[in-house]
Symmetry: C2
Subunit: 198 residues, 2 copies
């Protein structure tokens, strides 16, 4: 036997399901849990269930929220003329951390990937189009810089441009703090392509 | 606001308490939880609470267990004449994985560390001494190879030898699959010291 306790074994298995957590880290986490006060562990268990029970999707932007519409969509401080389209809720979190963007979001729920059977119907594309009627002047496409993201960007821009809305996409180039010498060719050529006048 | 949901924020905070989990991984885990079926999340929450509620310490070896004495102490297949002393329950797990050791264990609950206020009274040292009466012929000391572990090894061997029991300690040397060239000086000198005749 490896574990003298079935409960411990079970928790190790549960933890190792989490992304980026291997068997060894899961075991370390489980033994850490064992040393915590019971009320702390109960709080964590409650937090897990709460996430499933309280979180739903905003009917306007499809982002995760506890109230519908979500706090961003219902905020009076946000610029309703600009919509930033992203793939997943974590992209919204990342963009909100910059404190730069004051418009609204639209979460597609993924990117186009025909090989995985993900077409426009699997994404919130129609929901995005219906939002174009409410005085939106610019749509910023902020897909991930990979093949699926690029395909989605091209697809959406073709769909949106005829509606008379300004369609932009976020820049690709050298990451801040990076080193030109270590940048890959694809990034460098995008950086050259996207050069701006000083 | 960074998170549009307080429940998500809470779970991210709970996850980032776990050892080796930063804010970014915690967020990734929380968003993963959000995508899981409710019953899977409930099972994980239950596993967390079970670990606290079901696991106690074996009154004989102080290892974690759900039944007292633990499955190892109560097993008829184990050699009761040999006791391997370790610092923590995860050391027992590591040793059990080798399938080499068929004796019993004794979990000290840490190592001597006067600077942190951990003396023999804070560890299960007296409990170890009381076990010496039951026909034990060898005690294997398997402390971690660091200063606290070495101090504990020396302390315990001085305490146990007068009782007429054979006291050994596990070997220090080159780890398997390692490279002599990259071994540190301390490891190499221990490997030389511990050389055995062929």
């Amino acid at each position: 036997m490896t574990y003298t306790s079935e409960a411990l074994q079970q928790l190790v298995e549960e933890f190792s399901q989490l992304p980026g957590v291997g068997k060894k880290s899961a075991q370390r986490m489980a033994l850490y849990i064992l040393k915590q006060p019971r009320e702390d562990v109960l709080r964590m268990a409650k937090a897990l269930v709460n996430v499933k029970d309280r979180i739903k999707y905003c009917t306007s932007c499809s982002n995760i929220t506890e109230v519908d519409p979500c706090p961003i969509c219902s905020s009076a401080k946000r610029d309703r003329a600009t919509i930033c389209v992203v793939e997943e809720p974590n992209d919204v979190i990342a963009l909100e951390k910059t404190n730069e963007f004051r418009g609204l979001y639209h979460v597609l729920g993924g990117a186009l990937s025909p090989l995985d059977g993900i077409g426009p119907e699997e994404l919130k594309v129609n929901e995005l189009l219906t939002r174009m009627t409410n005085g939106v002047t610019e749509v910023i496409l902020a897909m991930n810089p990979n093949i699926e993201g690029e395909a989605t960007t091209i697809y959406l821009s073709r769909l949106l441009k005829p509606l008379g809305v300004r369609v932009t996409r976020i820049a690709r180039g050298l990451p801040m703090g990076g080193d030109l010498e270590f940048a890959d060719e694809a990034t460098l050529s995008r950086a050259l392509e996207g050069r701006i006048a000083l």
